[in-house]
């Protein structure tokens, strides 16, 4: 992956950035006169601490890190929006910062006027913009709307227009800050196509994101930043693993049952077992309790943002044939297809009545970790087999 003979595109040399945050905004005359000494009461926030790294020409370079770790500050320093407090940034080649799409867009101007304004911000002359104008409108699919004011556009239309202008930028180096976080599926597909094209053309791209999936898919190198310091600059897999560790410091104890909230004592968990393979996630639960009706249950797998990634509910799925009446033990074996991206997941289990009301619920009954992310979008439910005895 690392070819040392390639030219350096961006060199960050011991860069530090401090922000002076005033405790109280005393930037008016009255407060300065009344409290002449108070104006020094600022707090230094060290957003970046001695950051050094190099980005080679042709790298698709991902920057990951938690919220507030300094990712965006770093990107803004590369884009020359912020001046570093200490250190040097050397950029070798022309650079387009679309930190954000549609910079300078004005809602009171028409779509056409905004295209020219935004183009000027990205460094195009009027003549260049005029020659590209038809292509831009075509790509955005907004022919009928170009003479309307931007304020009458939907947010999706605005993003489409901005993106269509932005991708005309033909610089050597592009800076992207989670521009993919917006838009519908069609628009995202266009973005991904554009990313692939950048990669094929071997452009140098610096990409700040939260999405490990996107880093994995596009980046050739990745940097992990935490608390203003570079933790790791390596190939993508190692960096992402380290990122996961930082995000979930308790991950080593994943198999430990952390807390079981039992709503009613109708059931008790006797045993549980989780097996994760490349293709499947198998969950086995053994519960005991007084069983006087058909078994209904729900299983949910949440990612670390508490978003349901996979779920199954026997009532909603109309799988009401699980009979275990008379027994005082129930075994649930459920297998999901492994369509999950890398991350830490936890499992909730609920026993339900026929109307999907919970009889007993076990939150975070177990958790597991998936290292390698894969894309697989075939099966919506993601269930490969269910067996209840």
């Amino acid at each position: 992956m690392i070819k040392n003979n390639r030219e350096v595109a961006i060199k960050i040399d011991e860069v530090s950035k401090d922000f002076n945050l005033p405790h109280e905004l005393n930037n008016n005359l009255k407060q300065r006169l009344l409290h002449p000494l108070k104006r020094t009461s600022t707090e230094k926030q060290h957003a970046l601490k001695d950051v050094s790294f190099e980005i080679k020409k042709g790298d698709f370079f991902g920057i990951v890190g938690r919220n507030g770790s300094g990712k965006s500050t770093l990107l803004k320093i590369i884009a020359e929006i912020y001046a570093p407090t200490k250190g040097n940034v050397t950029v070798n080649g022309s650079l387009t910062p679309f930190i954000e799409l549609g910079v300078g867009f004005n809602p009171e101007l028409t779509g056409k006027e905004n295209v020219f304004l935004n183009g000027a911000m990205l460094g195009f002359s009027k003549k260049e913009m005029a020659s590209m104008y038809d292509e831009i409108v075509d790509f955005a699919e907004l022919e009928k709307f170009m003479d309307q004011k931007l304020k009458n556009y939907s947010s999706g239309m605005q993003v489409r227009l901005a993106f269509s202008v932005a991708i005309r930028a033909k610089s050597d180096i592009l800076l992207l800050d989670e521009v993919l976080a917006v838009g519908d599926i069609n628009f995202q597909k266009k973005c991904f196509d554009y990313f692939r094209e950048l990669k094929r053309e071997e452009k140098t791209v610096v990409f700040v994101t939260h999405s490990m999936y996107q880093v994995k898919e596009y980046c050739t190198q990745a940097l992990l930043i935490d608390d203003g310091k570079v933790v790791l600059t390596k190939d993508v897999d190692d960096t992402l693993d380290k990122y996961l560790q930082i995000m979930n410091p308790k991950e080593k104890n994943t198999e430990k049952l952390t807390k079981v909230k039992t709503k009613k004592k109708a059931f008790k968990v006797e045993d549980k077992n989780i097996t994760v393979t490349e293709s499947e996630i198998s969950l086995d639960f053994k519960l005991s309790g007084k069983i006087n009706r058909n078994i209904n249950f729900a299983v949910g797998i949440k990612d670390n943002a508490m978003q349901a990634a996979l779920k199954y509910n026997s009532v909603l799925a109309k799988h009401t044939g699980y009979k275990a009446v008379g027994s005082n033990e129930v075994n649930i074996e459920i297998k999901f297809m492994n369509i999950l991206v890398g991350g830490t997941y936890s499992v909730d289990l609920s026993m339900l009545d026929e109307k999907s009301n919970s009889i007993a619920s076990f939150e975070d009954i177990a958790s597991f970790h998936i290292k390698n992310s894969k894309s697989n979008s075939g099966n919506l439910y993601g269930i490969s087999s269910i067996k209840v005895t």
């Binding site: 930037n27 009171e108 195009f124």
Partner: protein, 274 residues
């Protein structure tokens, strides 16, 4: 990097020219948006003002009976003052108002101040064309001194730009400035011989007249009146002797230099301070 910075700080680079043009265009479009008469207001406003001044100062307060073509003389002064007020008050707010751009993209910040002052300058030139039309109707004879006018307009523009650069950079950290500047400009309006002839001041106190005429705005207004309306307009050189009569030019030069240096130094930190 050094090369790239040098390129991007050149006003006449391809990118900066395009950016300046688009910003000026945007400002003009937005100013007259949704008004029925649109750009015509740039001409109608000075026309209306002229009507008011004509009635007030030739029928009610007869300040200017001693001065030939007094309505035109007065209108010219008011229009120059209006330009200076519009350019500096607009510049003061401009950097903060464009905070959204500054936080998102790197470009030479002075383009914002220049685009605002150029919009004001375009308005001034439109207004001046109205003044010239009235001057012709009023029977003003243009002598060779009229050729000085473009240089005086340029001097006024540079002074407004220098003041604008200082104000806009200061305003980022010091938000009381907009109110202070309002008051300063109100006071200055009466400290400059715009609605009264300079002769009034000379009659009251020679010293006061000398001090008044060291102000570059007073010098420019009087010189332009001399150049375009009447040779009886009193100029700086009529009230103060030679080394001192250069003071207004020196003030303009110092203001522009200080403005450019101070703005450049502060502009590196606009993105984080706005």
């Amino acid at each position: 990097m050094i090369e790239a910075r040098a390129l991007s700080s050149n006003l006449f680079s391809k990118r900066n020219k395009a950016l300046l043009r688009e910003l000026v265009k945007t400002e003009f479009k937005l100013r007259y948006q949704n008004s029925v008469l649109g750009y015509a207001w740039s001409l109608l406003k000075p026309l209306g003002l002229f009507g008011v001044l004509y009635i007030v100062f030739t029928k009610i307060f007869r300040f200017g009976d001693a001065i030939p073509h007094f309505p035109v003389y007065l209108l010219l002064g008011i229009i120059l003052w209006t330009f200076f007020l519009e350019a500096t008050a607009g510049a003061l707010m401009s950097i903060v108002a464009r905070g959204d751009l500054i936080r998102k993209i790197s470009f030479p910040k002075y383009i914002i101040v220049i685009s605002g002052t150029i919009s004001a300058l375009i308005n001034l030139l439109l207004s001046l064309s109205v003044v010239l039309i009235f001057a012709i109707f009023n029977g003003v004879d243009f002598g060779p001194q009229a050729l000085l006018a473009p240089f005086l307009v340029l001097e006024l523009y540079l002074f407004a730009l220098g003041v604008g650069l200082i104000l806009s950079a200061l305003y980022v950290n010091f938000r009381d400035l907009s109110h202070i500047w309002d008051v300063v400009m109100q006071a200055a309006f009466y400290a400059v011989p715009i609605i009264y002839p300079l002769q009034f001041v000379i009659d009251a106190s020679e010293i006061a007249a000398k001090i008044v005429m060291l102000n570059p705005i007073a010098q420019i207004v009087q010189d332009l009146r001399f150049s375009l309306v009447t040779e009886s307009a009193k100029r700086t050189s009529d009230v103060v002797q030679l080394p001192f009569s250069l003071a207004p030019y020196l003030i303009v030069l110092v203001t522009v230099t200080v403005g450019a240096v101070y703005f450049r130094k502060k502009s590196n930190f606009f993105a984080e301070q706005i």
